[in-house]
């Protein structure tokens, strides 16, 4: 029978249940589900490994990410240079580690800032409604009718290239999604009975929306923050690859990949672009695993 595995599992659970060995589950249900999600846990581990090795880069490599060493140009990976060296003799491994700092800062930082603005505005205007709400909604609509990368490139062409500009631009293009999510949650939550009760107690509006309603919308917002982080890291890599992101003298994951535009490098010097591309992919993958796990664990409609 096809279901024999399932049947055996049922038998096992039943035996345990009848022996009284299954205890009522305690603690946070969301946390427990997260811990049980194998992919999410793999994600957390990869995320921490990459994050920590970027933060503690100086402990992991003695090389400088920016020091040009013309005696050791274009070396393939060795015990001295784990990921080899680039055209000007810079150590690629060191560049990947230090570049991770900037790339993660841009991705995570912009996502958090965008969330702060989007959720801050969305909660308040969503709860209050009125003219403020209409204005915020229209402004976000304008931002969101541009394809993200087009808007980013447009703003880059106006504002010029710099690290700070890039973060500001990412925040500008990213807050709309957060805002809409927070507003939508607000619109449904503000009709709940407990909110009516709070209002009748005369509690102030900011207090109601940020202290009492916001925590109930936190699940989807956290999921969105992870997804936005992933998106921004990919966007930074893409822009820098095009040479339009972070200025080339600052090492970032995208800037390291920039060299692969040259077909000779692509074909002959794989160590200059393949490892860093894989690091980006792994990091984004881990963030997506975490986001997916969060989504499953905060979604009450799913059980298992």
């Amino acid at each position: 029978m096809a279901n024999s595995a399932l049947n055996r599992k049922f038998d096992r659970i039943r035996a345990l249940e009848e022996a009284g060995e299954l205890k009522p589950l305690t603690g946070s249900r969301a946390l427990r589900k997260m811990m049980n999600n194998r992919l999410a846990m793999v994600g957390v581990v990869i995320f921490l490994i990459i994050l920590l090795s970027a933060i503690f880069a100086p402990l992991l490599t003695a090389h400088s990410p920016t020091k040009i060493d013309l005696r050791s140009m274009l070396q393939s990976p060795s015990g001295e240079h784990w990921f080899g060296t680039d055209k000007t003799g810079r150590d690629v491994f060191a560049r990947v580690l230090y570049g991770g700092r900037v790339s993660i800062l841009v991705g995570l930082g912009s996502a958090l800032l965008a969330a702060l603005i989007g959720v801050g505005v969305g909660c308040y205007t969503g709860y209050k409604g009125g003219i403020l709400d209409v204005i915020a909604l229209r402004v976000s609509e304008i931002f969101m009718s541009f394809p993200q990368i087009i808007l980013v490139l447009l703003l880059v062409s106006i504002a010029g290239q710099s690290l700070a500009n890039l973060i500001v631009i990412f925040v500008l293009t990213g807050w709309g999604g957060m805002y809409r999510l927070a507003r939508a949650r607000m619109l449904s939550l503000r009709e709940e009975e407990y909110v009516q009760a709070l209002r009748s107690f005369g509690i102030s509006t900011p207090m109601i929306c940020y202290k009492h309603i916001l925590p109930n919308a936190l699940g989807p917002i956290m999921v969105n923050i992870t997804l936005t982080t992933a998106m921004f890291i990919l966007a930074e890599a893409g822009l820098s690859f095009l040479g339009l992101g972070v200025p080339l003298n600052i090492p970032t994951w995208g800037n390291i990949l920039n060299v692969a535009k040259d077909l000779r490098v692509l074909q002959n010097n794989w160590w200059m672009w393949l490892p860093v591309g894989m690091v980006i992919s792994l990091f984004v993958l881990s963030v997506n695993f975490i986001g997916d796990g969060l989504r499953d664990s905060t979604d009450p409609s799913q059980q298992g």
Partner: protein
């Protein structure tokens, strides 16, 4: 032929295995559904009455199974053991819809929003009869007309969102009755409807029973409905039948403390505002931390130490059975 047993359930146990726990949702129930009679299943939410219905239809979710017992459908061609059929096998599918049909609690969500009512009723006919497309359409219009839906020809071409709640439930009943099933299972069919519509739906079900001799299993938590419609009643609590009998047995001579408490908790029209309405003390226990023995004992006023053993079912009369250690002592209080 009225009164003949259409389906018998013996010592049925259905357990759920969600969240790595085992919930004994239905823990050994036995009853018969008879032709031309209405069997009411009452009990508070979570007592296993809906699970019993789903088990008969084999509509259980995947993380659950029938552990023990039997469900026997007494078809004209001979008995069929439903519990031994493959959940989505050919035979089970043939029985569903044509022999045993079901209507659900919430008519708002039970219909597919993207198909017309006519299409959805016709689907049943398509799979259970040999009618041509034209004949099916005629039959659909006929069914809708029988359910008291005005302008059935036009209404059949409309989508569910244009129907009111009561009309949707009629459409669902039309769908269920389309192939003249021998048994109709109704799972709280009026909970989501207005009181006035409720009465209409019940009248409709009663007519069906009279005209076609359909056996009806009606799940409800409303004692008023029981008094109105039932021929026989079973009272369920925490996955067990605590008391079963004819409607007179249960309403006039209740023996089990739970049944009595249930009846005491209903206001009676005409007794004025000062009548004594008792609520049942305590709350339904956690299904994962069941009390030992009689499931009702922690909430029961008459519980003693003997109640920590599961009581057997005792027949008071041929039709009336109860599972309580103390039912004789309790009735002496009257």
């Amino acid at each position: 032929m009225t009164g003949e047993v259409a389906l018998s359930v013996k010592n049925l146990k259905t357990f759920f295995y969600t969240n790595n726990r085992c919930n004994k949702a239905v823990n050994g129930v036995s009853f018969d559904i008879k032709k031309g009679r209405t069997l009411c299943v009452v009990g508070e939410s979570g007592c296993g009455k809906s699970v019993t219905a789903s088990t008969i239809m084999q509509l259980l979710p995947s993380l659950s199974r029938i552990e023990e017992g039997s469900i026997t459908y007494h078809a004209e061609a001979g008995d069929i053991r439903i519990d031994q059929l493959d959940r989505d096998g050919k035979e089970m599918r043939r029985i569903r819809g044509s022999e045993i049909a079901m209507i659900f609690q919430d008519p708002m969500t039970a219909l597919n929003p993207v198909y017309t009512i006519g299409f959805q009723i016709g689907e049943s006919l398509k799979y259970h009869t040999d009618l041509s497309a034209k004949a099916r359409h005629a039959k659909v219009v006929d069914l809708l007309a029988n359910m008291g839906i005005p302008e059935p020809e036009r209404r059949a071409k409309e989508y569910p969102h244009k129907y009111s709640g009561g009309m949707r439930q009629r459409a669902l009943i039309a769908m269920a009755m389309s192939c003249n099933p021998k048994i109709l299972i109704a799972d709280e069919p009026t909970t989501a409807l207005d009181v006035t519509i409720q009465a209409q739906i019940f009248r409709l079900m009663d007519e069906l029973k009279e005209q076609h001799g359909t056996a009806i299993m009606l799940i409800t938590h409303d004692m008023g409905v029981v008094a109105e419609l039932a021929d026989e009643v079973i009272v369920m609590y925490m996955g067990n039948i605590v008391e079963a009998g004819t409607v007179d047995d249960i309403l006039r001579r209740p023996k089990h403390p739970y049944t009595r408490a249930l009846l005491d908790s209903i206001p009676v029209l005409g007794r004025g505002r000062n009548q004594d309405i008792k609520s049942i003390r305590g709350a339904t226990p956690d299904p994962y931390q069941r009390p030992k023995g009689c499931q009702f004992s922690p909430r029961c006023d008459f519980a003693t130490e003997t109640c920590s053993a599961m009581p057997d079912e005792e027949y008071i009369t041929e039709t009336h059975r109860v599972s309580c250690h103390h039912y004789k002592d309790i009735s002496q209080h009257d």
